[in-house]
């Protein structure tokens, strides 16, 4: 039995590695198969979304603190990079790293202020920050360029447009790999377990000794930093920044939608969500141009996800698969009589140290789900 489950697990791991290799190969070959620069640039946008959604998930998915204002870190990363390049002549990618570091430092006091409140209050606070930054960057035109925009020189001036897209496609992929790696490491760590405990029941986690505030803050800073890297990379790729798009609640909402759609408990959930939402957004913009139809579609999609797949696509599909192909995986409450007897026998036999000091058998008593208990 044990060796069986062991080998099954090994096969599962192998299958996953294989799927990962195939997925990676498919993604990396995209620039070669993309028919024209427009499709390639749409691919860049989608990978950018994947970076942002995965970054958002570092705090939203682990701790359950839903930030609608992650556009703030995106915008700060983008403008930080752009301004460092244009005003201080810092080399492009050095500027990107410095801007992300600045955002990391800024995220500490912002996190200290905003993570004090939970639930809806946290959502509102997160929105407030984006709106403030939007006004600041629009009004302070002498420094930021205001609504006229800020043109960021390209890091590789020699490249033609398709090559420029291709290089940035791979750069965004590298950034995505980094964000996924961070999520994966945290997911498997003690730190991650503590964060998930916060998501489940923050007070309880704290009562069990988890320094919840420090945990939340650390996750928040890491998330903001990756979001800033995504924003800064966008600035270098797109080359033109406007506060209304950079400090947008809409971008924050897209990150939430993508993560929720794919599944916040899964490494690749936000990536899948970014693929679906990113593709849909491009489609609607292409087909219906400047109408607001893409917003309507986004809203409908969000509604459908929350109603029918509250845990996202990945768990929904997994549940469906389990329902049809794994009928033996029954609820734990359905314990057969034979199993029950075996459990009791095992318990009566082997309970040396902590055995009941009480009267001998106490058969109705307890560890095994008695029928009355089991039906609750």
């Amino acid at each position: 039995m044990r060796s069986g489950s062991e080998s099954r697990r090994r096969i599962g791991t192998l299958a996953r590695l294989l799927a990962l290799a195939i997925g990676t190969a498919l993604v990396l070959s995209f620039p070669q198969v993309a028919p024209n620069p427009y499709v390639l640039s749409a691919g860049v946008v989608i990978v950018n979304y994947a970076v942002l959604a995965t970054s958002w998930n570092l705090v939203g998915g682990f701790t359950g603190y839903i930030s609608l204002g992650h556009g703030a870190y995106l915008g700060l990363g983008a403008y930080g990079t752009g301004l460092l390049v244009t005003r201080a002549d810092v080399p492009s990618f050095v500027a990107l790293v410095i801007a992300a570091a600045i955002v990391a430092v800024l995220a500490i006091p912002i996190g200290i202020a905003s993570l004090r409140v939970r639930g809806a209050s946290f959502v509102i606070v997160s929105i407030a920050l984006v709106l403030i930054l939007l006004l600041v960057f629009q009004s302070w035109a002498s420094f930021t360029g205001g609504s006229n925009g800020l043109v960021v020189p390209r890091p590789f001036p020699g490249l033609r447009r398709p090559e420029h897209h291709m290089v940035f496609f791979y750069l965004f992929c590298a950034l995505l790999a980094l964000a996924l790696l961070a999520w994966w490491i945290i997911d498997r760590s003690r730190f991650g377990l503590g964060l998930k405990a916060i998501r489940e029941d923050e007070d309880k986690a704290q009562a069990l000794g988890t320094p919840t505030f420090a945990y939340k803050l650390a996750a928040f800073v890491v998330s903001a930093t990756f979001t800033a890297l995504g924003g800064g990379m966008y600035a270098l790729w797109f080359g033109d920044l406007d506060p209304i798009f950079q400090f947008s609640i809409l971008t924050g909402a897209y990150m939430v939608l993508m993560a929720l759609l794919g599944g916040v408990r899964h490494l690749f959930g936000p990536v899948l969500g970014a693929l679906v939402v990113g593709y849909a957004l491009e489609y609607f913009k292409l087909e219906y141009g400047d109408t607001q139809l893409h917003l309507v579609a986004t809203g409908v999609l969000l509604g459908l996800v929350v109603l029918f797949m509250p845990d996202g696509v990945i768990p929904a599909v997994a549940d469906l698969y389990a329902r049809f192909f794994k009928p033996q995986a029954a609820s734990i409450r359905e314990v057969s009589t034979a199993e029950l007897l075996a459990q009791r026998a095992a318990e009566a036999g082997a309970q040396p140290g902590g055995g009941d000091g009480g009267p001998g058998g106490e058969p109705g008593g307890t560890s095994v789900p008695t029928s009355a208990e089991a039906k609750r």
Binding site: I185, I186, R188, S189, R190, F191, L193, G194, K196, A197, E200, D201, D203, K204, A205, Q206, A207, L208, G209, T210, P211, T212, F213, S331, I332, R333, Q343, E347, Q351, G353, G354, D356, G357, G358, E362, G364, G365, T366, S367, V368, P369, T370, A372, E373, A374, R376
Partner: protein
């Protein structure tokens, strides 16, 4: 397995409160409560509904900041400390309506309470052999080890209560505060929890139990403190409390 705390005769350097007060708006939930719990014993806190027991409990464990007064533990002032610091000081607690992490497995629920050894260990796996063994040990002790890999939300309420207890024990607290451990569970399970408390107490752990089940209180505790209107009105061994006229009037409704 776990290092037992001092098993010397009753000491008073355990948990104490002096003039602890907490008001909500115009209501004084805890009113200048001065209580000394007997270290190394099973203490029970009883009183009618709304007498401030749970608020008192929450002030002691840091969930609520008291307006005034002090809480000391083993001579150290822990008033207003954050709950995780109080947990680290050696005080574990359960919640009134049983709180667990529903979307984690039973084993993970317990592992959350494992003490981290260093900052670097934070990024390590929580499933170190020693930690898992200890967690499984506590699950065995409360009798739900066979459910270790089940998601906690699938457990019955009684099993969840046992799980919560295992989680508290994983933190290796020398003082354990239980908020209504017998609430909403069947008699057989009450018996089991009572037995566990007795054993753990014999191993050197101090208990403070808020409970309405008088049978459990009278049979289990060494020392009973009666709360009424936010402050203790009587304390003593169960046999004395049972016949104290003030208690009968305030609580038993006679």
């Amino acid at each position: 397995m776990t290092a037992a705390t001092t098993s010397s005769p009753p000491v008073t350097d355990g948990l104490r409160t002096v003039g602890l007060t907490k008001t909500f708006g115009g209501v004084t939930a805890v009113d200048a409560a001065t209580v000394t719990f007997q270290h190394g014993k099973v203490n029970a806190l009883i009183g009618p509904n709304g007498s401030g027991k749970t608020t008192f409990f929450n002030c002691v464990t840091g969930m609520i900041k008291p307006d005034s007064g002090r809480v000391t533990y083993r001579g150290r002032d822990i008033t207003g400390h954050a709950p995780h610091r109080i947990a680290k000081a050696g005080i574990g607690r359960s919640f009134q309506l049983c709180r667990i992490f529903p979307r984690m497995t039973v084993l993970e629920n317990v592992l959350v309470a494992a003490r981290r050894t260093s900052l670097g260990a934070l990024l390590g796996s929580p499933r170190g052999r020693a930690e898992v063994d200890r967690a499984r040990g506590w699950l065995t002790r409360v009798g739900i080890e066979h459910l270790a890999d089940v998601e906690a939300r699938n457990l019955s309420y009684g099993q969840q209560k046992l799980l919560e207890l295992a989680g508290v024990l994983m933190g290796d607290p020398e003082t354990i505060l239980l908020d209504e451990p017998a609430g909403g569970v069947n008699p057989a399970l009450i018996e089991r929890i009572g037995t566990l408390v007795r054993q753990l107490n014999a191993e050197g752990r101090t208990f403070l139990i808020v409970e309405h089940n008088m049978d459990m209180v009278m049979s289990l505790s060494d020392h009973v403190i009666v709360f009424d209107r936010g402050r203790p009105i009587a304390e003593g061994p169960p046999s004395v409390i049972r016949s104290d006229p003030r208690v009968l009037e305030a609580y038993l409704g006679v």
